[in-house]
């Protein structure tokens, strides 16, 4: 796809990111929120990859790999927390989990 300009990639990435943000802010189910975070990760990844291709600098692609692994780790930990919370409270509404307020 040599003809696709950088701006298009970035537009898609921005849209993905916006979807992620909105999802994160509006949903109260932590699993949905995690998915929204994944969307934001991937928006970033897309931008990295697009820049790497445009400027022929492979650091961008390496970053993508790091982000993917970190995202996987993050998802694993977050899901574990969600499971623990569910076991204790039988409920996973994030607005109800506010014990850490100051």
């Amino acid at each position: 796809m040599p003809g696709v300009p950088l701006a298009d990639y970035l537009a898609v990435a921005s849209a993905l990111f916006a979807v992620g943000v909105i999802g994160f802010l509006l949903r109260r189910n932590p699993i949905t929120m995690l998915m929204a975070i994944e969307l934001m990760w991937n928006a970033g990844n897309l931008a990295f990859a697009a820049f790497a291709r445009t400027f022929v600098d492979f650091s961008g692609q390496i970053f993508v790999f790091i982000v993917v692994t970190v995202a996987a780790a993050e998802a694993a930990i977050a899901l574990a927390i969600v499971v623990m919370v569910f076991r204790r409270r039988r409920d996973v509404d994030v607005d109800e989990i506010s014990e850490l307020r100051g």
Partner: protein, 647 residues
């Protein structure tokens, strides 16, 4: 002879010290008398050695009579200094000269007699051994003061006698009055120490040394005003130690100490240290006319003021205390005008008769079970003939009656004042002589005559030889001690020539100035007659006068309210400031600022804590808003909106 000269002064100095250490270490393991014997023998040993040393020194020609001893001696491979921070060097050094010897003889001689007297006097004390340890400490420190070869060691002795004086004034430690008197004495003495320290700093700045030898040899290299300042600051030390105006108020209170202490420290020796200091520093005062004049005026004023106060006191020891202050005023006056030999002479005779007076008074107090108020005495001449006789000899001597010791020395001082052209000082000196005779004979009449005994409980009259022998010896000395200077034969000046050279040895010593002698004798006689008239002959006249001059009487009885003034001027403000600082300023002011910082921090924390709601999505919103703001900053501020085509 080398070894003799090197070791004897050292032995003289440290014998009393080792006596003290021995008493302290032996503690309760030896009988009480053992401590007394150790104390007595060590001081007696010092006295004998001093006499030997003195006869040796005075056998030398006058210009070789100054011995300077440095420790360790010159041949030592490793020189040792008291302090050594180049260029500052302060050595261990002693200086033996006729002036020091004169004082050493009195300190150890009279000191021994008073040690002897204490064996009996202190019999009932709980702290008998401690008393002798302290007395030995005093003798040691006082010897250090007069044997020192530089101003540092003088200061060490100076403060050492202050400590001994403090310990002995507060000897009856369970009486609050004694404790407070001791505190006052030490604080005032420390003011004097500070005066000497300043003088030392100035001397170091000008001469680069504290050694008598160096300072006195280069005295002219400093300007007159510098020497005046040094002289004034030395005077501050002298005034505090010798209880002269305006730092005299500790001495009357110091009478809280046991009577032997009053006799030795607060009459015969320690309080004369100021006279010694000025005589010792005479090369400075010789070139510091303003300072010397200040010395003379303060001495004269002290002599006069103390005599007036002495007229209105009723405590036998307080009267003697004020008379001490007055007599030392004479000595200070003498050394102030440059009559060093006359001042030293009066020191010697004063040591005899004042120690005698205190010890005779001590016998009375002892036999009256601690009573010191002369209003509760009277008629004691028959009951205690020995005390009466000796006290009378002392009174005649201090009043200046021929041929007792005080006559010669007081006359010598007044002679010099005339000769050196100080008519006003002479006039005050002569009036003071009259007052002296008056208050001393008032004391004699009230104590020994004026009808019958007025006390509450019957006096007992136990006689102990250890108390009476020293008193008798001193009575003899107070009688004949003045004969060192007889008309045409001036032994005193001959002895002191090695210390003062030609200055301070004035031609009138040993000459009779009939005018001065006449006035002096007349003053003394007048004082005696007035006292006799008012107390024996016409008591009703005395009462009439007392009511007429009641306000004056009150002022004198309260010693011009100087204590009260000092109380409000210094004590109250200092203590108020101190307790305010400790109570309020420090915990709440200085500490409060810090506490304020801590409170602000916690307050900020409290305020910001509200933001931590615990709602995850609100945090998310915060992040997004932050992100948007950062982006906006870059787009609109950093790039001026170029990225979105605003430029």
């Amino acid at each position: 002879m080398e070894g003799f000269v090197a070791t004897v002064p050292f032995t003289i100095l440290f014998l009393p010290f080792f006596g003290m250490v021995l008493i302290a270490l032996a503690g309760p393991y030896v009988p009480r008398l053992g401590a007394a014997i150790v104390g007595n023998l060590s001081v007696l040993g010092s006295f004998v050695l001093t006499a030997v040393l003195a006869s040796y020194v005075w056998s030398l020609p006058p210009d070789q009579q100054v011995l300077t001893l440095k420790y360790p001696p010159a041949w030592a491979t490793h020189p040792a200094y008291w302090a050594h921070i180049p260029p500052l060097t302060i050595s261990f050094e002693l200086r033996i000269d006729p002036l020091a010897l004169m004082w050493m003889l009195i300190i150890t001689g009279v000191g021994f007699l008073i040690h002897l007297y204490s064996i009996g006097y202190m019999q009932e004390s709980k702290w008998y051994r401690t008393f002798f340890a302290y007395m030995n400490l005093f003798v040691f420190a006082m010897l250090m003061l007069v044997m020192a070869g530089n101003f540092l060691w003088l200061l060490v002795g100076w403060a050492g006698v202050g400590l001994a004086s403090y310990l002995l004034i507060g000897f009856d430690a369970d009486r609050m009055a004694a404790v407070l008197a001791a505190r006052k004495a030490l604080i005032m003495n420390v003011i004097g120490d500070v005066g000497i320290m300043v003088a030392i700093f100035l001397m170091y700045a000008h001469f680069g040394s504290l050694s008598y030898k160096v300072v006195f040899a280069n005295v002219t290299s400093a300007g007159t005003s510098a020497l005046d300042w040094i002289g004034i600051w030395l005077l501050v030390g002298a005034v505090a130690k010798s209880a002269q105006l305006p730092l005299h108020t500790w001495l009357p209170d110091a009478m809280e100490g046991p009577t032997p202490v009053s006799a030795l420290i607060h009459a015969a020796t320690m309080v004369t240290a100021g006279v010694y200091l000025i005589a010792r520093a005479h090369p400075i005062y010789d070139h510091a006319p303003a300072a010397a004049m200040t010395v003379a005026v303060i001495g004269c004023a002290s002599a006069f003021v103390a005599a007036t106060i002495g007229m209105a006191q009723y405590d036998i020891k307080r009267v003697l205390a004020y008379s001490t202050m007055s007599q030392i005023g004479y000595m200070i006056l003498a050394v102030g005008v440059g009559a060093y030999a006359a001042g030293t002479f009066h020191f010697v005779t004063h040591a005899f008769f004042k120690a005698l007076l205190f010890m005779a008074a001590g016998i009375i107090i002892h036999n009256l079970g601690g009573e010191q108020d002369i209003r509760k005495m009277g008629g004691l001449a028959k009951r205690m003939p020995f005390a009466f006789l000796t006290f009378l000899i002392g009174t005649l001597a201090i009043s200046g009656f021929f041929p007792f010791a005080g006559f010669f020395s007081k006359d010598a001082i007044l002679d010099e004042l005339q000769l050196l052209g100080h008519p006003w000082l002479w006039a005050f000196g002569s009036i003071t002589a009259l007052l002296t005779a008056y208050y001393m004979f008032r004391l004699v009449f009230m104590t020994f005559f004026t009808g019958a005994y007025r006390g509450d409980h019957e006096p007992h009259a136990d006689r102990s030889p250890t108390m009476e022998v020293p008193v008798a010896i001193l009575a003899v000395l107070a009688t004949i001690g003045g004969w060192l200077v007889l008309p045409g034969h001036d032994e005193m000046s001959r002895l002191l020539q090695g210390a003062f050279g030609d200055r301070g040895i004035l031609p009138t010593m040993g000459e009779i100035n009939w005018f001065v002698t006449g006035v002096t004798t007349f003053s003394a006689a007048a004082g005696l007659v007035i006292a006799w008239w008012l107390y024996e002959r016409a008591p009703q006249l005395r009462r009439r006068l007392a009511t007429m001059f009641a306000p004056v009487q009150r002022v004198l009885a309260n010693a011009y309210y100087i204590d009260t003034i000092y109380h409000w001027l210094f004590e109250v403000p200092t203590l108020t400031a101190a307790s305010d600082i400790a109570k309020y300023v420090d915990p709440e002011g200085v500490g409060g600022v810090i506490a304020g910082v801590a409170r602000t921090t916690t307050g900020l924390g409290d305020a910001m804590r509200g933001w931590e709601t615990g709602y995850l999505r609100r945090y998310g919103l915060g992040m997004v808003v932050g992100m948007v703001l950062v982006l906006a900053y870059y787009i609109f501020v950093v790039h001026g909106g170029a990225a979105v085509g605003m430029r």
